[in-house]
Amino acid sequence: MLAKRIIPCLDIKDGQTVKGTNFVNLRKAGDPVELGRAYSEQGADELVYLDITASHEGRKTFTDLVKRVAANISIPFTVGGGIHELSDVDRLLSAGADKVSINSSAIKNPQLIDDIAKHFGAQVCVVAIDAKQTKFGWKCFLNGGRIETDKDLFDWAKEANERGAGEILFTSMDHDGVKTGYANEALATLSDLLTIPVIASGGAGNMEHFKDTFVKGKADAALAASVFHFGEIKIPELKHYLCAEGINVRL
């Protein structure tokens, strides 16, 4: 049976891991390759490396990092941040990434999803969506949550699915960094709506939150950052807990 996946996410700035709370207040949390290798050995199923550097120089540093990750780590990893066109995808896949995650650039240019799927295969294309509940429903945000759009979360996720996305990575900005659990209601709606896997992101604070997002949120995978980086949840313990709760995980 296909296992539910546990995915640590590493935010990278200038070649170092950082993690924000509600997208601000960045704290340093270790060397990205060493951290990734440690997670892999502990039983993480995949890794996500998100480049939050904006500069051109930072891009090059990140590409070098992707090469080091590919050389050192034996589980799949996704990279995101600063991907605007096919040449960016080509550069990162050539450096050894298994998948790329696109966010703002997909909202600005949805055709990018079609193009990535056509050139590199749907499985390569993860569409990440940052959304927040407003009085008009769940709305998508751009640029790390700084700019609101009029795009509805569910409409956009469905469109991304139809255009050829391989997975949807949904981050609830209301839940991110506050450790009160994932946005399971919205996740379950997404899971029922889409024909591709959904990765839950934002809100993990304890082990029960992971169980809830797999059961109530019907998520295929759960992503978290700070609870792993600061050792508040250890992946082997989390997986044994989930297994005891009847959830199929890779042990």
């Binding site: 296992a3 589980i75 050894g96 499985q123 042990l251």
Partner: protein, 196 residues
Amino acid sequence: MNIAIVKYNAGNIYSVDYALKRLGVEAVITSDKEILTKADKVIFPGVGEAETTMNYLREQKLDLLIKDLKQPTLGICLGMQLMCRHSEEGNADCLGIFDIDVKKFQPKRHEDKVPHMGWNTLTNTNSDLFKGFEKEEFVYFVHSFYVPLNDYTAATTDYILPYSSALHKDNFYATQFHPEKSGAVGERILRNFLDL
């Protein structure tokens, strides 16, 4: 030991090279016919689309070469599917090493998402690739097409239906999953292949 990785127009070739390096093995990535023919072992990896890659292999005359290899040869993911007779992906005639056709997954329930992506278990393993396995191990899959169970099935995985997650016939071995992305279990499978 000379290990050659077939270089062609498919993605993910370098992941296999990295995985071999982690095992302390230096492979050569090449489409040079002489090097491939003389290598002790050949790995035929790949992520991509069946028809496009088969056309390329034919143009480069690598199709006949791969079929005629006599040393242990390992196809991975698309590599395995190309070793079969025909693929529904692009209605492509393939190498025909394994006398079986590649089908597209047909979801039966909403939960049956395609591609089959993530970690799933190997059952009924019956090849030297899986030497030392004591339980049903998890390996990493990404694919939308599958090889049905057949006489050459060397491991079975259940997703939508039970299908061949590995094949073996004479000197030809193949895995639908990615040993190079399957952590310690994948490393053991690659080591077993190198030890053949």
